[in-house]
């Protein structure tokens, strides 16, 4: 498969849960340093598509290549893939038995063999990026929703992956914090990180997307630059963003 | 393969399997030294043959496997001879005999088998008394089987059973434990021969053991040991 230098590419991806067809032939490509935003109705398969990219779901048909890893290949080296790809889950999935700091340094220390001091330094830095430096030694259950979400973002950033997958990472954040996360993401993109984000906040999408993918009934219904959000061409997208065509 | 007798003699040591939890044949004295009629019999044998003696501690269930798998040379541990058992191991000539009785509370009116109907008779599981009574189907006996003599005695002492089938020695002992519930032998079951057990296929060893048993029955040494622990003489017929 020729990926045209794309860092993430999906071709004709199909995925069903039992009788429910969730992905029905999805295609896209994301270039290095690009931010692609996936939008769509609740239940339209956005999270599923994202999870397929990091192989938390196996696909029924089609081909996915991320950072040169053939994700759809059954014999893929999962660890290698996941060292290159970071993911923030919609439900955060922080480790409840570890403090925020321990959550963050866990992977750098064990996977990247970073020294503990270096990892802790870095933990402080990424936490500061998301405005959470004072909660270093809190356990997840002691954090507010938005704090948990930011801790999850920080945990992924600490691994300095080449591709980041964000699943609604600003859902629990207020406008002010959303703005700050936006800045962080822009900086990452400027540094060459490739990102795929699922979001339902159109303002956020407009501010950040190089490419927007509108999913509808398991298909890519409309895609293009962020401007499609303000001037949609299909009635479904128009309805979705609350505009009359 | 070599003959077991030769092996024993060559090793200058005899390994005798004995269960030390079946008084008065095998037990521990107050200073936790093995004692009992089987223990002294074994000691006598070793001395006579000029061998070192090693007791292989067994439980009831492992007496036989110990000789079958050559972890012990012979068994001296209240083995009573039955045809069924003789299919599995060889027995020497009987070196002692055990009088089995049904003993009941002194106060209970029991003269013969019919009186036992409806009474719970405690018995040690798998003993020859157990087998004997179990096979008396037409006498309609009610048996309660316990794992060892001590538990059986406890059943009698505590009132779980009013009768017990065991050796006369033990029946008399109950009254000592609990003077409020003295027991006495009421009905004789039978007298069982006790013999030394040897694994199959060792005719020379059996032969030599038989000689030893005969000699020591004649000279009265085995009878002495028996009297010391069981309080009665061996049947006269045996001593011939």
């Amino acid at each position: 498969m020729d990926t045209n230098g794309a860092v993430v590419s999906a071709r004709d991806v199909h995925k069903s849960f039992g009788p429910l067809k969730v992905l029905d032939g999805i295609d896209f490509e994301v270039q290095r340093g690009e931010v692609m935003v996936i939008i769509g109705r609740s239940g339209s398969g956005k999270s599923t598509a994202l999870r397929c990219l990091d192989r938390f779901e196996t696909i029924d048909e089609g081909e996915i290549i991320v950072c040169g890893h053939h994700v759809s290949d059954p014999n893929i080296d999962l660890r290698a893939l996941r060292q290159d790809v970071g993911i923030v889950f919609q439900s955060y999935n922080l480790f409840p038995h570890l403090t925020v700091e321990e959550n963050i340094i866990l992977a750098p220390c064990s996977v990247k063999r970073a020294s503990k001091t270096a990892a802790k330094e870095q933990a402080k830095r990424v936490l500061a990026q998301v405005g959470l430096e004072e909660k270093l030694h809190y356990y997840p259950e002691q954090l507010s929703g938005g704090q948990q979400q930011r801790a999850a973002i920080a945990r992924s950033l600490a691994m300095q992956p080449k591709v980041m997958l964000f699943d609604e990472v600003t859902s629990a954040l207020d406008p002010e914090l959303t703005g700050e996360v936006l800045k962080v993401i822009e900086a990452l993109a400027a540094d060459g990180m490739t990102m795929v984000m699922v979001t339902h906040e159109m303002g956020f999408a407009k501010g950040i997307a190089d490419q927007v993918l509108f999913m509808h009934r398991g298909k890519v219904h409309e895609s293009g630059p962020a401007t499609i959000l303000t001037s949609p061409t299909t009635p479904e997208l128009a309805q979705f963003v609350g505009k009359e065509l | 393969r070599a003959d077991l007798l030769d092996d024993i003699m060559a090793a200058k040591k005899i390994r005798i399997a004995t269960d030390l939890a079946i008084p008065p044949s095998g037990m521990m004295d107050g200073s936790m030294k093995p004692t009992g009629s089987d223990v002294e019999t074994a000691q006598l044998l070793a001395k006579d043959w000029g061998l070192e003696l090693e007791f292989i501690q067994t439980t009831g269930a492992t007496r036989i496997p110990n000789v079958q798998t050559n972890k012990a040379d012979i068994i001296i541990s209240t083995l009573s001879v039955t045809p069924e058992r003789a299919k599995v191991i060889d027995f020497s000539k009987p070196y002692a005999a055990l009088q089995s009785v049904v003993g009941c509370l002194k106060a209970v009116q029991v003269k013969d088998w019919p009186d036992l109907k409806g009474k719970t008779i405690a018995v040690s599981r798998g003993t020859t008394q157990d087998t004997a009574l179990t096979n008396m189907k037409d006498r309609e006996l009610t048996l309660a089987r316990f794992d060892d003599d001590a538990t059986m005695v406890t059943a009698a002492v505590s009132g779980q059973a009013d009768c017990m089938a065991t050796s006369a020695t033990i029946v008399n002992q109950v009254g000592v434990k609990n003077p409020a519930r003295p027991f006495e032998p009421k009905v004789l079951i039978t007298t069982f021969d006790l013999a030394i057990g040897i694994r199959k296929g060792e005719p020379r060893l059996v032969e030599k053991l038989n000689e030893w048993v005969s000699a020591n029955l004649k000279n009265g040494k085995l009878n002495e040991i028996y009297k010391k622990f069981h309080g009665s003489e061996l049947p006269a017929a045996m001593l011939q």
Partner: protein, 227 residues
């Protein structure tokens, strides 16, 4: 080796083994059912905010778990008889096993209950469910689900442990084995046969637990995630 296995000599006594196996199974079933109930009640007691109640449950658990089953059985069987209370060996065996396994299951189930996330209980409280309703709907089943394999193992262990009741004249499988092997001196054959019967009994128990799991944990069944 002069050890020749002769199974027919043992197998011809199959009715004895069958009776023994049946008694073992009965003891196991009774103790499993009642012990399971004690486990649930005990676990609730251990978690109770009532200090006295939780203390009592703790003493029960520690007292039973840390002493041998045999001693417990002796105490009940002979102790009661000494007081003039005579029960059949079966009754005592079933009662002692129930009390015994109840202590172990109390702890196991408590662990399951403790593992139910606080948010779940809060959600139920927020829906105005009563304490009993919360226990029944939100704590009991998910809690048991989390420790189901441990529970199953414990009950299989109980079934094997029921052999101790042979000491007080219950004619269960091990008692039969002891009888047969001392009557015939064929220990190998007897033990092998009895092991096979025990394995079959444990298979039956496991199958039972598996089937029960399908009924009480419909989500596992529907989502196809094994227990």
């Amino acid at each position: 080796m002069n050890l020749i296995l002769d199974f027919p000599a043992i197998l011809e006594r199959w009715p004895l083994f069958l009776d023994g196996a049946w008694l073992t199974l009965q003891l196991a079933l009774i103790a499993t059912l009642l012990g399971g109930v004690i486990g649930v009640v005990g676990a609730m007691g251990r978690r109770s905010s009532n200090a006295v109640l939780s203390r009592i449950c703790t003493i029960y658990v520690e007292g039973i778990r840390n002493t041998p089953l045999l001693v417990q059985i002796f105490l009940v069987y002979f102790g009661l008889a000494s007081l003039g209370l005579k029960f059949s060996a079966f009754t005592v065996a079933a009662a002692a096993l129930t009390i015994n396994v109840g202590a172990y299951t109390t702890e196991i189930i408590r662990a399951g209950f403790d593992a139910v996330p606080r948010g779940q209980i809060e959600a139920a409280e927020g829906l105005a469910l009563s304490r009993a309703q919360i226990y029944w709907n939100v704590i009991l089943w998910p809690g048991i689900e989390k420790v189901y394999p441990a529970l199953t193992s414990q009950f299989v262990l109980l079934m094997l442990a029921s052999s101790v009741t042979s000491q007080i004249s219950a004619e269960e499988l091990t008692a039969v084995a002891n009888y047969v092997q001392s009557d015939t001196y064929r220990a190998f054959e007897t033990y092998i046969l009895v092991a096979i019967v025990y394995v079959i009994l444990s298979l039956i128990m496991r199958a039972g637990f598996w089937a029960l799991g399908l009924v009480i944990f419909p989500r596992r069944r529907r989502l196809g995630t094994p227990l």
